[in-house]
């Protein structure tokens, strides 16, 4: 069992200024997940009649992308390739001080304590993260030929759970790893290729309009991504964007690529 000192960001609502509040987490088992540790702290707060620490979580098995805490300055904490819910207390030592903060970005306003509004990512998806036509049900195997490498790349990109840790980790609060995973996922597949130019333009515009920063190749995003999505997808997105140069100066609605 260990005792920890928590420094948690508390903020009543989107308008509140917010501040760091100290808590003691006592009798923490190394087998607990980070969220279970917070559950214990919250139960104690509720018993004392205080407002519990509010945080996002859902599946608690590392696949939903809801949990979103910056732990000691690192989104999802010190373990690579894990979400907060899959981070276990055995990675901390008795007596440690742990800072717990929400994602920080202009595009992700804090709603309460550790919860931020990530609908900016939804807007980017709405701008182009889909295929416009019905591609039908699951096709027979190999009826639509896709090169093995392309299928693997598309799958790697599709692993993105949209948690926003890439934005939170980026010193520029850039969403380019997220957007590049979506752009890359579609660009590698025949169903997505048809709209690839329009897609990258629309998604990059939505990303810029939401107030995210610009990538300067720090690669902090890749380091914290719970799905370990590679920054090479950002290079791929840059290539996709460059492709659109073929269409410079074409009139609106001129049609045909």
């Amino acid at each position: 069992m260990m005792n920890l000192k928590l420094k948690v960001w508390r903020q009543k609502n989107a308008q509140d200024k917010g501040k760091i509040v100290d808590y003691n987490a006592k009798n923490v088992s190394p087998d607990m997940s980070f969220l279970e540790m917070l559950d214990i702290v919250n139960e104690e707060l509720i018993l004392k009649g205080q407002e519990p620490i509010v945080f996002d979580h859902d599946c608690r098995e590392g696949i939903c992308g809801m949990c979103s805490q910056t732990i000691n300055g690192i989104p999802h904490g010190p373990e690579r390739g894990t979400t907060v819910c899959q981070l276990h207390m055995r990675h901390f030592k008795d007596g440690d001080t742990i800072f717990i903060e929400p994602w920080r970005a202009r595009a992700f306003p804090v709603m309460k304590d550790l919860i931020v509004d990530r609908s900016a990512l939804d807007k980017i998806i709405q701008a182009g993260g889909f295929v416009s036509v019905d591609t039908g049900g699951c096709p027979d195997a190999n009826s639509l030929p896709i090169a093995k490498d392309d299928a693997e790349d598309a799958m790697d990109a599709a692993a993105c759970i949209g948690c926003g840790a890439c934005v939170a980790a980026c010193k520029n609060a850039s969403a380019m790893l997220f957007v590049s995973a979506k752009v890359g996922h579609f660009a590698k597949l025949p169903q997505g290729k048809i709209e690839r130019e329009r897609r990258v333009q629309a998604m990059v515009k939505a990303m810029d309009d939401a107030g995210f920063g610009n990538c300067t190749n720090y690669y902090e995003c890749e380091a914290v991504c719970p799905k370990e999505i590679s920054v090479r997808f950002i290079a791929l997105m840059n290539r996709e964007y460059l492709r659109t140069i073929n269409h410079l100066g074409r009139k609106k609605g001129a049609g045909g690529f």
Partner: protein, 242 residues
């Protein structure tokens, strides 16, 4: 519904639109960076002729001066490239600062290199140095006496000017520090420009990082060889020049 917009939304645009987006602006910085890298490489190779001898470097300088209007065209092109590079880089940086108005109470860095995090500052330092360097050796406003140096062929004696300039340890050390700054800037930017231009994948990545270090190292050694050689008396002033 608005979200069906991918098919309806404007996708045709003018180049202005292309370069107003985040990736478009990054492309401008990368492409101008390639041109500037080409310049610093060529400039270094040209300058290294000082080791061949007084005649070689003076003839090279006279050749450049002899380009006349063409020289000014090249200078205008380089100035425009530099202005675009700095302008877009500053614009991106300001947007990046604005994108995180509230910083973390506890900051951490996992793998971003110090060179990547100091690009704006190393860049601005190099810009300021370039201005000083032009006044020092190109326009000689800081040392009008350099203008009267001539070799036995009646050409401007760049050889003696460079050695005279670098005999001053303060100036030499300053130049060496600034060349380190340039190399430091390039150690991030060479691999970064490949990434931004989309020329990176899992196979290339490690090689590009090594290439960046190699380019930075070669430029640092090549450039600092000249002030170092002047300080250490390896490059000697010709007889009669003081």
């Amino acid at each position: 519904m608005e979200s069906v917009g991918i098919a309806k939304k404007t996708w045709a645009f003018l180049p202005v639109g292309f370069f107003s987006r985040s990736i478009g602006k990054k492309l401008v910085v990368a492409v101008t960076g390639v041109v500037l890298l080409g310049f610093v490489t060529g400039h270094m190779v040209g300058n290294l002729q000082v080791f061949i001898g007084q005649e070689a470097i003076n003839r090279y300088a006279a050749f450049l001066q002899g380009l006349g209007e063409l020289l000014w065209l090249i200078r205008a092109f380089m100035a425009a490239t530099l202005i675009l590079h700095v302008w877009f880089a500053i614009q991106l940086k300001l947007e990046n600062w604005a994108a995180r108005p509230k910083r973390y109470e506890h900051n951490a860095t996992v793998q971003a290199t110090l060179s990547s995090r100091t690009m704006i500052w190393t860049g601005l330092l190099i810009g300021a140095f370039a201005a000083y360097h032009l006044l020092h050796f190109t326009f000689m406003s800081l040392h009008p006496e350099y203008k009267t140096l001539e070799d036995h062929l009646g050409q401007h004696d760049v050889y003696s000017m460079v050695i005279l300039g670098f005999k001053n340890p303060a100036i030499s050390i300053f130049y060496i520090i600034m060349m380190f700054t340039l190399a430091y800037h390039l150690s991030h930017s060479v691999q970064s420009m490949f990434q931004t231009l989309g020329l990176n994948n899992d196979q290339y990545d490690g090689g590009l990082r090594r290439l960046a270090l190699a380019v930075a190292g070669i430029l640092f050694v090549g450039y600092t060889a000249i002030p170092a050689a002047a300080l250490l008396d390896i490059l000697k002033l010709p007889a009669g020049v003081k």
